[in-house]
């Protein structure tokens, strides 16, 4: 299989030793990002706070995955596996969130959802179907 043979080439060729510099650089960036996320967390940016925090967290996570977990050197299958798990996590979250977000807001445009009951048409006279009509 193509992937196993590339891997074989790598290890036989003397372990492609990158040295430790990249680990320290990534570590430094992660520390800075942590400070950054705490600092922006204190500022009130309204509805931007959460997306910003998530963007920084995703950036940090990406660095950990690519460099600490060596995904830059990993076989493609491993990358697909891990990314897929995140994708399906997002599917679950957005599928459910879609339900919540639209549960109480399926109202007409320009119509503020009200707390009153729906309008029930009132029949005059004997135009109502007789009870127990169903079968």
């Amino acid at each position: 299989m193509a992937d196993a043979t590339t891997q074989a080439a790598h290890s036989k060729a003397g372990h492609h030793d990158h040295g430790t510099k990249r680990y320290f650089i990534v570590w430094g960036i992660l520390l800075i990002c942590t400070v950054l996320t705490v600092w922006t967390g204190y500022k009130d940016l309204g509805s931007l706070n959460l997306p910003l925090a998530l963007v920084i967290a995703t950036f940090k996570a990406t660095l950990v995955i690519l460099f600490f977990m060596h995904m830059t050197e990993s076989a493609a299958t491993n990358r697909i596996v891990f990314v897929t798990s995140f994708v399906f996590m997002l599917v679950m979250i957005f599928g459910v969130f879609g339900d919540l977000w639209t549960r109480s807001q399926m109202s007409l445009p320009n119509h503020v959802p009200s707390t009153e009951g729906p309008e029930i048409p009132v029949f005059e006279g004997g135009s109502l179907p007789p009870p127990g009509h169903h079968e």
């Binding site: 290890s11 030793d17 705490v38 998530l54 996570a61 596996v81 798990s85 459910v96």
Partner: protein, 217 residues
């Protein structure tokens, strides 16, 4: 198979694999698949967080203020540094610097212990003040926000599951460390060290997301 072809046999090669390279590839793929399952395990809790933060935006904001950001930040820095240490430990075995590797592993485990200790401090404070999940919630200043107890339910579930994984990760690293010390893992065969380190990095990954979501909203 192929033991008669004169090729120097890696003693770690299992009988059903043709070459050690294929076996290592399989081990890594297996580990990444397992990490994928861990992501989906935590996914359910992140979903719970999303749902309840949507319902109880106000409560979540105020309850988050009740957390100690200082301790949380220290914990984040501790875990990130532990990730560095374990990456260095893996590198150490790969290039044959076994003493360095062992030292780095010890530092990683110490960081993990430190993380757990700080978590213990935070938890005991919450027990004291009544910031507890579900039916145990009795923190008076926060009671005026509907849904405050749900914040702490999510908090304890996510950090609890995470702490459990920290303990498991520590155990794995201790076991790997002992095997390195006995000389089982060398530059010729170090895949188990890689797998142990990957697990530890996942623990770090989860916390990288948990920290802002719990402490900084």
């Amino acid at each position: 198979m192929s033991s008669s072809d004169g090729h120097a046999h890696n003693p770690n090669l299992a009988h059903h694999f043709d070459t050690i390279e294929k076996q290592d590839y399989a081990a890594r793929l297996g580990m990444w698949l397992f990490l994928g399952t861990e992501v989906l395990l935590f996914a359910g809790l992140f979903l719970g967080y999303t749902v309840y933060r949507h319902f109880y935006h106000d409560a979540f904001h105020h309850c988050s203020r009740a957390l100690n950001i200082g301790l949380g930040t220290i914990n984040t820095l501790v875990l990130i540094t532990s990730s560095l240490f374990v990456a260095l430990a893996y590198w150490g075995v790969k290039v044959g610097r076994i003493k360095l590797a062992l030292g780095m592993l010890v530092l990683t485990i110490l960081c993990a212990a430190g993380f757990l200790f700080i978590k213990y401090l935070e938890y005991s404070h919450k027990f004291h003040v009544g910031e507890l999940p579900g039916k145990w919630f009795r923190a008076e200043e926060l009671m005026k926000y509907p849904g405050a107890n749900m914040y702490f339910t999510i908090y304890f579930l996510t950090t609890g599951l995470h702490a459990f994984h920290v303990i498991v990760g520590m155990s794995v690293l201790i076991w790997v460390g002992l095997r390195i010390w006995k000389g089982k893992y060398t530059p010729d065969y170090y895949v188990p060290v890689e797998l142990g380190a990957l697990y530890w990095h996942l623990v770090d990954l989860v916390w990288i997301f948990l920290f802002p979501l719990l402490y900084l909203i």
